[in-house]
């Protein structure tokens, strides 16, 4: 880190401290400025750590809510960044714990579903009819998720918006739907 960067960071820290003191006194414009500034910093902080950018907004919002509820605990004699990143770090760890199940057990390979569809053996009209039949056998949520994400080619974020469910729920539905579809089609086609 260069000297200029250190000076800039120290100035920023002082500025945040001053804004936080005003916030504690009830100055809403200072608070708005502070939160907007923190939004950018937190975006960079989580951006470096997250494998999926779609979680970034949720984490930033969670952290800002924590900043709001913990604002009375900030002591101006202490560095603001230590306080802020203390909250952000905890939120990130909390997020990792909550998503551990999805990340480790419910992960899915986006290409797997395409492999079934595009496979030369499976590109026949008969296969497509069977695929549609198999899709009908799936629970509504899994069917919707697979159709939107895998067949219509929407991104996971777009699909979650179209269906109106969370990103994590979409991923779980796609994964489970794919597994079920694989079992149904696997019985008939004997492939994986």
């Amino acid at each position: 880190m260069t000297k200029t960067m250190i000076n800039k960071w120290t100035d920023q820290n002082k500025r945040w401290t001053a804004l936080m003191v005003l916030t504690q006194e009830g100055d809403s414009s200072a608070y708005n400025e502070l939160l907007s500034s923190l939004n950018r910093v937190l975006s960079a902080y989580f951006g470096k750590r997250l494998w999926d950018k779609s979680y970034e907004d949720d984490l930033i919002q969670d952290t800002l809510m924590s900043v709001h509820t913990s604002r009375h605990t900030y002591d101006p004699s202490q560095p603001f960044t230590a306080w802020l990143f203390g909250i952000a770090h905890h939120k990130f760890i909390d997020f990792l714990r909550k998503n551990k199940r999805i990340v480790s057990n419910e992960t899915y390979d986006e290409t797997q579903f395409e492999r079934i569809c595009v496979n030369s053996k499976n590109s026949s009209i008969d296969y497509r009819i069977d695929l549609e039949k198999a899709l009908e056998k799936l629970p509504a949520k899994q069917k919707e998720a697979l159709e939107s994400f895998s067949l219509q080619g929407h991104s996971s974020k777009e699909s979650s918006k179209i269906i109106g469910i969370g990103l994590s729920a979409l991923k779980v539905n796609v994964h489970r739907g794919y597994k079920r579809l694989k079992t149904i089609l696997g019985d008939e086609y004997g492939n994986n």
């Binding site: 009830g26 930033i60 809510m65 009375h72």
Partner: protein, 213 residues
């Protein structure tokens, strides 16, 4: 909800807040109030007569200092942990050193007086009463520390719960120094004061999750 909308709504409904006191000041307040409560508990239990001036030997004084240092530093740690960004991992030593010193003192004492008498005393003293008294004396300090921690913004709830309860048990163990009739046996103190205090404090992991929000 978009982040900009959230920021707007948070700043729109902003209310002034009263700044929380520093963790050390809060630890001092807790320590003073809790030591008063434990003293009242010890006095009311009516077994203070078991404590004689002869009991207050050098080891007893050193032990008491170690327990009080341990209790105070544990409470500081719990309060520091309840404020974001204030805890540093090396701070754990401020709590561990007095605890280890207390245990070492007891080991030295038991080594010096390790005789049939000590073993006899260990077997003859009803140890079951000490953990019960320890738990009773710990209730009020624990309630106070948990309610004080809730005022802050605790994040590592299980750890804070454990350390908070450990400090309360430490204070209860200090009170027990005056009420227990078997203080001349360091083995008894190790078995029925230190071990239950450290063990029962594990309940704080669950209490922390339930009581601290």
């Amino acid at each position: 909800m978009e982040t900009t909308k959230l920021i707007h709504s948070l700043s729109k409904n902003l209310k002034p807040v009263r700044r929380l006191m520093s963790p050390i000041k809060r630890a001092i307040i807790w320590f003073v109030i809790s030591i008063l409560c434990v003293s009242i508990g010890v006095y009311w239990s009516g077994i203070l007569q078991k404590f004689t001036p002869e009991s207050a030997n050098t080891f007893f004084i050193l032990e008491s200092i170690a327990i009080l240092c341990f209790t105070f530093s544990a409470s500081c740690l719990a309060f520091l942990l309840s404020v974001p960004g204030r805890f540093k991992s090396n701070m754990i030593w401020y709590t561990l050193v007095p605890l280890i010193s207390w245990i070492i003192l007891l080991i030295i004492q038991s080594g010096a007086f390790f005789s049939i008498f000590s073993v006899d005393l260990l077997s003859s003293t009803p140890g079951g009463m000490c953990p019960r008294d320890l738990a009773t004396l710990c209730v009020v300090p624990a309630l106070i520390i948990f309610s004080m921690i809730r005022l802050a913004s605790p994040q590592k709830k299980s750890l804070i719960g454990y350390i908070g309860l450990l400090s309360s048990f430490g204070l209860a163990a200090f009170g027990l120094q005056f009420t227990c009739g078997a203080l001349s046996s360091p083995l008894h103190v190790l078995m029925f004061h230190v071990s239950p205090a450290v063990g029962l404090a594990l309940l704080g992991i669950f209490l922390g999750k339930i009581l601290i929000k």
